[in-house]
């Protein structure tokens, strides 16, 4: 059996790593400090998979998630990578 790819699962929405330079801009737009963002674990399978593409994603980086929404069709949300 080949290795299972979580990113291809129907329930897993699109994830993108936010470039460091853009973080400031997004946080300003949302008017929040980084710590106020919802969190995602560094050990999350999605992050683990993304690390294969982007290299190590250290704690404190931001992830952009684009997912389906029942009300808006598509919703953009952000996550903060944290350790255990």
């Amino acid at each position: 059996m080949g290795k299972f790819n979580v990113m291809k699962h129907g329930f897993v929405p699109e994830h993108h790593l936010v470039p460091k330079e853009e973080e400031e801009k997004i946080l300003k737009k949302l008017d929040v400090s980084k710590q106020d963002l919802p969190k995602i674990l560094k050990t999350d399978p999605v992050i683990q998979h993304m690390e294969k593409v982007h290299g190590d994603i250290e704690e404190g980086r931001m992830i952009e998630v684009i997912r389906d929404s029942a009300t808006a069709g598509m919703a953009k949300v952000y996550r903060l990578v944290i350790g255990r």
Binding site: L30, D31, V32, Q35, D36, L37, P38, S69, A70, T71, A72, A75, K76, V77, Y78
Partner: protein, 889 residues
């Protein structure tokens, strides 16, 4: 946005620890030794449970500790020195953990030194980093589990034995009982350093404190005794329990001191343990609850706090309030939906505070001078019940002192004025499931003893008048009244955020009435129109539509149009629409296509889909485009007109409305017989193995599905035959088709056939062995043997049919009972989880910690109350408006 602005102090942290015996002794005002409470003169006995050192509950006495009187001294703790230690039920789990993970000989943690130090370091680090207390507890548990695995102490090489806990409080080691004393001495042996890895901070707590040697006695104010009318004293449950503890404690001490046999001492010790255990928690599993003499179980410490009737949910999360009242509700169609009828009796008790100022002092003086129950020509007028002086003293206004009190009034006083017409109050019906369960109304004083409300506001409250009661709260501040008026008034809640449509609108007879007013545009004579309008004193009768033989006649649709704004343009299908294959819209022969052009009802019938609660298109459009004032006025007026219309015509229904010609009855019977024989054929085919399975289903399932389909078809067909003979000339049908009440299915069940009864979504199959009832053969699968009811309600059911019908009916009853309690609990959990969320100014949803829950409210930023059925823009409506505007130019 800085949420912390205005917060002067923040709680940094809260620490919980156990109380040491030393602390208990220091805290206690006195030692308690005698189980007696009062002496013969009724005075508290020294060193008894009601010792005045513990505070006082009787007026006149002074507390011996602080010298305070009843209202000044909040009470002090006392203590009972236990003759022998007992285990605290609340901490048995912890005690078990400590016993199992430390050595029975040397008391050290059952881990090698290096390992222990490593864990110690880990714990320290977690503490320093401010880790979650749950995580710390989990680590401690893991460490304890690991230590437990060592059967030999790594320090003194002593062999360890298995420690068992006999619920609730007995520890056993290798089948010999460990007395609390032994447990305590083992816990004492554990060195301070070994406590850290087990999650205990030795600076604050020692494990031996978990075994009680001193018992803290709560102040008398916590367990007040009450004096009955007969003069007898009745003690609080806690006092009763403490008396038990003291008695046994004393006997135990005596027996121990005179050197009684071990057996007797141990029995008493166990009894003391039992009493102390039930003192904390009288619902401990494994021991019988302690009972009052009358047989009632005692309410001890845990019972005071826990559950729905416990301190938290009953007294802290929710409280009883003043300025509120509750009574039965009844309907009043002449009130506006914004109003509530308040009976005089209630209005006399409920008050609004008035601040006396230089500019209103004359008015207030007169108000107070009237006394508490003034009338004017026999009618209610508001008076005043209390005046409050600037120093806070309240003076009751009575018939006799009214004049003199009024003279004393000065700016700065507050007068509590009785309710009057136009006051803003909150009106509420439980269960409060959505925000429309509590709305603001304007007071209208009415005679009688019930609250009155307009029928159109029944749907949001889910109220009816079969004995429902509702609560009313009088707002006490200007801010509250303003806020309630702007956001909670009934007219602001015509559109529901639940589904983006009107929840307030015409119901039942309103809908039938408007149907008769508008269906196929009847004409009315002057007398009739006056009768219809007679309850609407504010409106002039519109211009007549035609004149025949010198008499003027009015068209029903014109009467309705009279209440529409002049520039209203709409078109939609009415509820009575027959859903023809091709809709010819305006030319509809059933008058079911509603067209409103420039505020005139051109074609179509007004029914539920036009003005009904939950469905009314016109109400929806008015509230959305013309504002709530217009919508409220519209609802008020058309419901009144509807009642005028239905009163004029007269309206009734009876079982005769379901009469169908004998020919139809025969047809229905034939359909039933045909269906039954089809079922028989299916069963035969199944038994002969000729039935072909549907994909993904077993043969049995296939048979069931096909039988259900066949019988369902039969019922529908019977219904169709019946309804063919029941037209809109029939009142029952009018109600069903217009959406006023009941449904066509209800009518076919009365006129045609009840159809298949279901239990858990299937045909009934259980009961006797391989059959539902003893009247059938084993394995019989036919229609009758599996709950098909051929008869109608009007025909009456045969005994077997009746039985099956009862099975289905009972299931429905049980389901609703179970569902309400379960969904209630689910809702409670949901609300507790979501209560601190709010939409901030930047439209993000955040909790009180200011972290983001949603980046945009609902992900689309749409206010569902302003949406059309959850969708932000109603394109159809926009197009209609566009076409109208373009055509007009």
């Amino acid at each position: 946005m800085k949420r912390s602005a205005g917060v002067s102090k923040r709680v940094g942290s809260i620490k919980f620890a156990y109380m040491s015996p030393e602390e208990i002794r220091n805290l206690s005002a006195t030692k308690i030794i005698t189980p007696d409470t009062y002496d013969d003169d009724g005075f508290p006995i020294d060193m008894g449970l009601m010792d005045t050192h513990l505070g006082v509950i009787e007026p006149g006495l002074r507390c011996k500790t602080c010298g305070g009187r009843v209202d000044q001294c909040s009470g002090h703790f006392g203590r009972i020195e236990l003759a022998m230690p007992v285990i605290h039920v609340g901490y048995v789990k912890e005690i078990k953990k400590f016993l199992r993970s430390t050595c029975r000989e040397c008391g050290k943690l059952l881990l090698p030194k290096e390992e222990k130090e490593e864990y110690q370091e880990q714990m320290d680090q977690m503490e320093r980093m401010g880790a979650d207390s749950l995580d710390i507890r989990k680590l401690a548990k893991d460490i304890s589990k690991k230590a437990r695995r060592n059967k030999v102490c790594p320090h003194c090489k002593a062999e360890q034995q298995k420690i068992m806990l006999d619920k609730p409080t007995t520890f056993r080691e290798d089948n010999t009982k460990l007395t609390p004393k032994e447990v305590r001495s083992r816990l004492e042996k554990i060195p301070d350093d070994d406590l850290i890895p087990l999650g205990m901070n030795p600076d604050v707590v020692r494990p031996e404190w978990l075994v009680l040697s001193v018992l803290l006695v709560p102040p008398v104010t916590v367990r007040p005794s009450i004096t009955l009318e007969s003069g007898d004293r009745s003690e609080d449950d806690l006092t009763h329990k403490l008396v038990d503890i003291l008695r046994i404690n004393q006997r135990l001490r005596e027996n121990r001191d005179i050197g009684s046999p071990q057996l007797i001492v141990e029995d008493l010790w166990d009894l003391l343990q039992y009493h102390v255990t039930t003192y904390f928690d009288n619902q401990t599993s494994g021991i019988p609850p302690a009972r009052h003499r009358s047989g009632r179980t005692l309410k001890t410490l845990i019972q005071r706090l826990k559950g729905k009737e416990g301190r938290f949910r009953q007294n802290l999360s929710g409280k009883r309030v003043n300025f509120s009242s509750r009574t039965v509700i009844s309907p009043d169609p002449w009130l506006s939906i914004n109003e509530v009828g308040v009976p005089e009796k209630a209005a006399r008790e409920l008050t609004v505070p008035l601040n006396v100022t230089a500019s209103n002092i004359e008015y207030v003086r007169e108000l107070v001078a009237r006394g508490p129950e003034p009338t004017e020509r026999g009618n209610y007028i508001p008076g005043a019940n209390y005046i409050i002086r600037p120093d806070g003293r309240r003076i009751r206004v009575t018939e006799t002192n009214a004049e003199t009190v009024a003279e004393k009034l000065e700016p700065g006083f507050v007068v509590e004025r009785e309710l009057k017409d136009g006051d803003i109050v909150l009106f509420n019906r439980q269960p409060s499931l959505h925000k429309m369960s509590m709305m603001a109304h304007e007071v209208k004083i009415v005679p009688g003893k019930t609250f009155r409300l307009n029928l159109a506001v029944c749907p949001p409250y889910n109220a009816d008048f079969d004995g429902d009661e509702m609560n009313l709260h009088v707002l006490q501040s200007e801010e509250a009244r303003a806020e309630a008026k702007v956001i909670m008034r009934v007219q602001e809640n015509i559109l529901s955020p639940r589904f983006g449509g009107p929840i307030i609108g015409a119901i039942q007879d309103h809908i039938s009435g408007l149907f008769f007013l508008t269906y196929k545009d009847p004409i009315f004579s002057r007398r009739e129109v006056v009768s219809i309008f007679s309850n609407l004193v504010t409106d002039k009768i519109p211009e007549p539509a035609e004149e025949i033989d010198g008499n003027k006649y009015w068209a029903g649709k014109d009467i309705f149009s009279h209440f529409l704004p002049d520039d209203l343009n709409m078109h939609f299908r009415a509820s009575i629409c027959e859903k023809c294959d091709e809709c010819i819209e305006e030319d509809c022969e059933h008058d079911a296509y509603v067209v409103i052009r420039d505020g005139k009802l051109v074609t179509g019938t007004i029914d539920e889909d036009a003005v009904g609660a939950f469905a009314g298109n016109i109400v929806d459009k008015l509230a959305r485009d013309y504002g709530n004032d217009v919508a409220r006025e519209f609802i008020d007026k058309i419901t009144t007109i509807a009642l005028g219309s239905i009163t004029l015509r007269g309206f009734t229904t009876s079982i005769q409305d379901e009469d169908v010609p004998p020919k139809a009855t025969k047809q229905i019977s034939a359909v039933m017989d045909k269906a039954k024989s089809k079922v028989r054929k299916l069963v035969d085919a199944y038994q002969d193995g000729e039935l072909e399975g549907l994909p993904g289903r077993s043969l049995e399932e296939t048979l069931e599905v096909r039988i259900m389909k066949e019988l369902g078809k039969a019922r529908d067909e019977a219904g169709n035959i019946a309804s063919k003979h029941l037209g809109l000339g029939n009142n029952a049908v009018v109600m069903a088709r217009t959406g006023a009440r009941a449904s066509m299915l209800n009518l076919t069940q009365m006129a045609g056939s009840l159809g298949q009864q279901a239990v858990r979504g299937e045909r009934p199959k259980r009961g006797y062995e391989e059959r539902t009832l003893a009247h059938f053969k084993k394995g019989e699968l036919g229609a009758e043997s599996r709950g098909f009811v051929k008869s109608s309600y009007k025909d009456g059911l045969n005994p077997l049919e009746y039985f099956f019908h009862s099975m289905g009916g009972r299931e429905g009853l049980v389901d609703t009972a179970v569902r309400t309690s379960r969904s209630g609990y689910m809702q409670r959990r949901l609300i507790n989880a979501l209560e601190d969320l709010m939409v901030s100014h930047d439209e993000t949803v955040r909790n009180t910690a200011n972290t983001i829950i949603q980046f945009e409210y609902g992900e689309d930023g749409i206010d569902p109350q302003r949406s059309k059925g959850g969708i932000a823009v109603d394109m159809d409506d926009v197009m209609t408006e566009f076409k109208v505007r373009k055509g007009g130019e």
